[in-house]
């Protein structure tokens, strides 16, 4: 039986968090090895385990039931959990569907937050581990590389991951639209709410210069300021220091507004009208909405930010349809390559490849001999080019036929031959042969 790709998994759509936690495989490094150790139905394996999904990708030349039994037994044994519960929650993809699913996962089209970039990094880590454990063979290697390039294509050709889809990211994006890069900007956190802290963290990660924290409780202000390596102050000093900051994130529990337009007008004069960005995450609001009417002042409250996030998400959903077309195209290409791993198509491709080179060279040679070449010479040259192709390719074909009779090495050598003769017409960087040319 030919090698077949299988994918077994649990994700946020098929299993709730308790089940996903129980069957997480993140603690086991040599887990892929355990799947392929014995002379079982699994030849290659890779395990992806994140907080939202646990997936086992494997390649085997047995039928689905055998591979599934082996995988689920190893999986549930490792986790010390029931195999039946696992069976009830998993999804199984086979062949082209498995490839399609993996490409969608890599491109973050199957993620809880569409287009979030973390999943690609997690998949790369999983692949690195599989390579280290030597559980990734010809097919998994190729499949993962193709999934990375499909994800890259989707990122560059569609806007599926281009806009911010969390409140704090939306705040950072808006700050960048106002100030450009944030290296010269400073911010003040008024109050110590969790969401405000997260927004401050994202701003700091985006290069923000300094952060100040003003809070009713001085201890909590100091604690937070230490965390951000910033400056702390009591709430009474907040207004006096506001002219020093460009971005204000407010999240106090105050029952009425604590900052109004006339106060900001004075502060703007002190700042020589440099722009200010206010992010009011508090409910009820901390900042008087009139502040937004001042020149060079921008005020966004929690509802405004939520709207930005919603719009961005809607935009991503539109782009996802385009991304899916790319996934399909790339999965089809992979399927073609997979089919070519049989010996016969590779032999045909090799001979076609040789013949096409011979034809081109023959044409060039005939052209250089001029228009008066007689028919006899022409026929002799054609004969020569054809037999050269057959003779040159004879030894590699015999070698491949012999290797394909040996268990487990056929794909490796066929893949090598395909790369050696560039039968899949992969792009070779233009500077590849530069050194040779120079020599």
């Amino acid at each position: 039986m030919e090698q077949r790709i299988y994918l077994f998994g649990l994700n946020h759509k098929t299993a709730d968090v308790e089940i996903r936690e129980k069957y997480a495989l993140s603690g086991f490094n040599p887990r892929e090895q355990a799947l392929i150790n014995s002379q079982g139905p699994v030849g290659e394996a890779l395990i992806l385990s994140t907080c939202n999904r646990v997936e086992v990708l494997c390649v085997g030349n047995h039928d689905r039931e055998e591979v599934q039994t082996r995988v689920l037994a190893t999986w549930s044994n490792y986790c010390g959990q029931s195999q039946d519960v696992l069976r009830d929650h998993i999804y199984v993809h086979e062949g082209q569907n498995a490839v399609h699913h993996l490409f969608s996962v890599a491109s973050s089209l199957d993620s809880m937050v569409l287009g979030e970039p973390q999943i690609l990094g997690q998949l790369k880590d999983a692949y690195r581990k599989a390579v280290k454990e030597k559980s990734a063979g010809v097919i998994v290697n190729r499949l993962l590389h193709k999934s990375f390039s499909a994800a890259k294509r989707i990122r560059t050709e569609t806007a599926v991951s281009s806009s911010a889809v969390s409140i704090s990211y939306a705040a950072v994006e808006l700050a960048k639209k106002i100030f450009g890069e944030l290296q010269d900007q400073s911010a003040m956190l008024i109050g110590a709410g969790e969401m405000a802290e997260l927004a401050a963290m994202h701003l700091l990660n985006s290069g923000l210069k300094t952060i100040m924290v003003a809070n009713r409780t001085p201890e909590r202000a100091r604690e937070l300021a230490d965390k951000f390596q910033g400056e702390s102050m009591c709430m009474e000093k907040m207004l006096d220091n506001l002219h020093r900051v460009d971005i204000v994130i407010s999240s106090t529990g105050a029952q009425s507004t604590i900052i109004n337009a006339s106060q900001i007008k004075n502060i703007l004069r002190q700042r020589r009208h440099r722009p200010m960005f206010f992010i009011d995450i508090a409910v009820p609001r901390d900042i008087d909405p009139d502040v937004n009417s001042l020149d060079s002042v921008y005020l966004y409250d929690i509802d405004d930010l939520r709207e930005v996030v919603e719009e961005n998400l809607a935009g991503r959903r539109e782009e996802a349809a385009r991304a899916m077309d790319i996934v399909k195209e790339e999965a089809d290409k992979f399927e073609q390559w997979l089919q070519s791993l049989d010996l016969s198509p590779t032999i045909v491709d090799m001979l076609n490849h040789g013949e096409s080179i011979a034809r081109k060279e023959l044409k060039k040679s005939l052209r250089s001999l001029g228009p008066d070449v007689d028919e006899q010479t022409r026929a002799a040259m054609e004969q020569l080019s054809q037999s050269l192709v057959k003779k040159l390719y004879h030894a590699p074909i015999v070698f491949l036929k012999r290797r394909s009779r040996e268990e487990g090495s056929a794909e490796k050598f066929i893949d090598l031959a395909r790369r050696f003769f560039n039968l899949d017409d992969e792009n070779i960087p233009p500077d590849t042969h530069q050194n040779r040319k120079r020599n």
């Binding site: 281009s162 806009s163 639209k177 450009g180 009208h273 719009e311």
Partner: protein, 275 residues
């Protein structure tokens, strides 16, 4: 002469391609198309430089009395200024106004029939380098401030009103970058404008034995100078930045352009460029 026509045609074609492809690159959010648009505009600018140098060299200075040459030079100044800002502030986005404005003025220079201007031989070199050079550079800086100002007001309104950013707005640089472009344009543009006006007065004093002749061009230039001086003062004192400076720069540029087209071409003036 025919070879110059071919050169002019290629310059206009490159400017047109640059302007259109930048616009398409923005609409479809294609960074590569935008980069290509800048390269094509730069190629047009290179050819344009060659065109001006050749016309000057082959005409042995006679081109300094041709109206076409001056209008073409103004278009060239627009782009020189744009490339400077692109290099200094990495504000490729201003290509959205720079290339179309240069195209418009350059093709305008081709459309008018060439006329020889009555330029007195006396102080010709000084008149050219100081009066025309500084006024044209100042106008080019104002053109840049105009582009930056329009972009600033558009983005400011989008952020203020919290409306959805289109694909064009997503590629647009920050408000701060546009304000920086405005700052450079005002800080460098006003002294240049002043030098241009003063050198004009000095030239007039030598030629007509009077500083101010109540020529329409002189009157509107003084009006622009006062408005520009006001903006310059508000800008360096820190009383204005952002929206107000953007609005003022737009007004001053429109006044300058109106003065250039309206006064120089349609009014009886000794600054006439009328064919």
């Amino acid at each position: 002469m025919i070879s110059f026509r071919i050169l002019d045609f290629f310059i206009a074609l490159l400017y047109l391609t640059g302007a259109l492809s930048f616009l398409l690159g923005l609409i479809y959010s294609r960074k590569k198309t935008q980069d290509w648009a800048v390269i094509v505009t730069a190629a047009g600018f290179g050819l344009h430089t060659l065109d001006l140098v050749l016309k000057y060299a082959l005409g042995l200075g006679q081109v300094l009395t041709h109206n076409q040459f001056y209008i073409s030079l103004l278009a060239w100044c627009f782009l020189l200024c744009y490339f400077f800002v692109w290099w200094k502030l990495k504000l490729k986005f201003l290509s959205i106004t720079a290339a179309p404005l240069a195209l418009l003025i350059f093709t305008g220079s081709l459309a008018i029939s060439p006329t020889t201007l009555p330029v007195p031989g006396l102080l010709q070199g000084l008149w050219f380098s100081l009066h025309i050079g500084s006024l044209f550079m100042s106008m080019a800086l104002l053109a840049m401030a105009f582009g930056a100002g329009i972009s600033y007001l558009y983005l400011d309104r989008k952020i203020k009103t919290k409306t959805k950013l289109s694909s064009v707005s997503k590629d647009i640089p920050s408000l701060q970058s546009f304000d920086k472009a405005n700052h450079i344009a005002v800080i460098a543009g006003f002294p240049l404008y002043t030098v241009g006006v003063l050198s004009g007065f000095i030239w007039a004093a030598f030629t007509w034995k009077t500083i101010f002749t109540w020529d329409p061009k002189e009157i509107i230039t003084m009006v622009i100078w006062f408005v520009f001086a006001w903006l310059f003062h508000r800008r360096i004192s820190g009383a204005w930045r952002g929206k107000r400076t953007a609005q003022m720069a737009i007004i001053i540029f429109i006044l300058s352009l109106a003065s250039f087209v309206g006064i120089n071409f349609f009014t009886e003036t000794h600054h006439s460029l009328r064919p």
